[in-house]
């Protein structure tokens, strides 16, 4: 058997290549080859997740700590965890409500901090006229300083205009009969469509990058037809 044939029949590479071809075959037609590998992948992923969760998390941090390191208080996690399953019976549903309530409370408290830290900087940045509309001093030696300053101001006016238009579009509390409001909302809808177009373009980039990667695997890693 030649070295190249040995490489082609390497079980890991061969399985990867067959899996890639099988999954991609769906775009031409639904078939059993695709179904087989879909189930294999699902089973593999689930088994891998379970094994990793036990070996890297539950065993060292819970089981070993409790059984070997004398941290017996971890046993309390078991009845608390079981309380969640009370939701499946009417008799013990109150138990699940108790733990769910505690977790909801914790999550709500975190959400307050999370929300303000994430969104307040954006709100203040959007409505800071001194920062947004007055250009920064020109960079010494910049031959296009005036152009940069003008574009800075125009860009920020555009930004403010778009923010207002989009916000008006989302005013659903009253019927938009006024012509000015209606037109502003329409403009808001148009700029939203532009942003959706940008997202669509980026989606294509992601999907194509993943496809190119798979082709690279087939032709470079497996078939070794592509150099470099």
């Amino acid at each position: 058997m030649t070295e190249y044939l040995k490489h082609l029949l390497d079980p890991v590479l061969l399985f990867g290549a067959l899996g890639t071809i099988a999954i991609l075959s769906l775009v031409f037609k639904e078939n059993r080859f695709y179904r087989l590998f879909e189930h294999i992948f699902l089973g593999l992923a689930l088994g891998y997740d379970l094994e990793l969760t036990w070996t890297t998390v539950l065993k060292p941090q819970f089981w070993d700590a409790m059984v070997h390191d004398g941290q017996w208080a971890w046993i309390m996690a078991v009845p608390v965890g079981l309380m969640f399953y009370g939701v499946y019976t009417q008799r013990f549903a109150w138990m699940s409500r108790l733990v769910f309530g505690i977790f909801f409370g914790l999550a709500a408290g975190t959400a307050f901090q999370d929300f303000s830290a994430r969104f307040m900087p954006q709100v203040t940045r959007s409505f800071a006229p001194n920062k947004s509309l007055i250009p920064p001093p020109p960079t010494p030696g910049d031959p296009h300083a005036l152009l940069h300053q003008v574009s800075f101001v125009l860009n920020n006016f555009l930004f403010l205009g778009i923010v207002v238009c989009v916000l008006v579009y989302f005013l659903f509390a009253f019927e938009q009969k006024n012509r000015a409001v209606l037109r502003t909302a329409q403009l808001g809808r148009w700029v939203l469509m532009f942003s959706f177009g940008a997202i669509f373009g980026s989606t294509i980039m992601t999907r194509m990058a993943l496809l190119i990667d798979r082709m690279y695997f087939i032709f470079h890693d497996w078939l070794r037809l592509v150099k470099g």
Partner: protein, 287 residues
């Protein structure tokens, strides 16, 4: 006759389209088509931020946290971002810790990216970098919150079960103030938690490497300065490789990606020409 032609333009068999698409992807793998590429501002900012972090002598005993949420399913984008990032960290002798909340990430990140590059740049485990390992997604929020005030107490042990306090690289790393930067390589919405619960007044610098499909929704965070730089999918990885002068997969597929975009634009135009011509023909027949 014309009407049939326009109809055909709108109903090209999808298998033909897929076959042409595959050809447009495969050909640039064999033939190098040099197309000019320029780094985007976000990629340049990403690079510049890490350059600044490396130049600041106060960061000598700090670490960069590399949070990886990706798995083989988005390898085509995230692996190359990760590779360029780790290359940059090692070139600049920055200490780093890898962390993940995805079950598959740890193995892929270590075997495909970190370990080969550590060999290349002479990075030693425990002295120059450490792998904090995998944590379940269920404890994501509480882990990020814990890192703010008590990193050793939150992480406790590395991926191999060794207490992290025993590593030289972790000697001075106790709280958020000992973190030089956070880099999130992700195909999921993990950024919000870092920005909401870990960052304080945009410190330490937060850098973001998402898949391209996610990128447009994060521009407000860039405008507000909460994210200091962003690598947009494989384009961002290619930009970064260019800035580092280490041409790899990201740079190589730039031409394939450009050709595919050209093909898709052409197909959209063909479909629209067919649609409008058919409509015009129907109107003429009606009148």
């Amino acid at each position: 006759m014309n009407s049939t032609l326009w109809n055909r333009l709108q109903t090209i068999d999808r298998r033909i389209i897929y076959a042409v698409l595959l050809l447009f992807i495969i050909i640039p793998l064999f033939i190098d088509i040099p197309l000019p590429t320029y780094p985007s501002k976000q990629s340049q900012d990403f690079y510049d931020t890490l350059e600044k972090v490396a130049a600041d002598k106060g960061n000598a005993n700090k670490i960069v946290i590399v949070n990886g949420m990706w798995s083989p399913s988005t390898r085509g984008e995230n692996q190359w971002q990760a590779e360029a990032l780790i290359t940059h960290l090692m070139q600049k002798h920055l200490h780093f810790a890898t962390l993940t909340f995805d079950t598959q990430n740890d193995t892929v990140m270590q075997t495909s990216v970190v370990e080969p590059l550590a060999k290349k740049y002479g990075y030693v485990y425990g002295r120059d970098y450490v792998n904090w390992g995998y944590r379940p997604n269920a404890v994501y929020v509480i882990t990020i919150k814990g890192l703010v005030t008590n990193i050793p107490g939150t992480i406790k042990k590395d991926a191999h079960g060794t207490p992290i306090t025993s590593f030289a690289v972790m000697k001075n790393v106790k709280t958020r103030s000992d973190v030089a930067a956070v880099v999130d390589i992700t195909p999921v919405e993990s950024t919000e938690t870092w920005l909401g619960l870990f960052e304080q007044n945009n410190s330490p610098p937060y850098l973001f490497a998402p898949t391209a499909v996610m990128a447009p929704t994060y521009y407000p965070y860039l405008d507000s300065g909460q994210i200091q730089g962003m690598l947009t999918g494989i384009k961002g990885a290619g930009d970064y490789e260019g800035l580092l002068h280490t041409k790899s997969f990201g740079s190589r597929i730039a031409s394939a990606l450009s050709l595919v975009y050209a093909l898709i634009i052409l197909l959209v135009i063909i479909g629209n020409v067919g649609h409008f011509a058919t409509r015009a023909a129907k109107r003429r027949e009606a009148s």
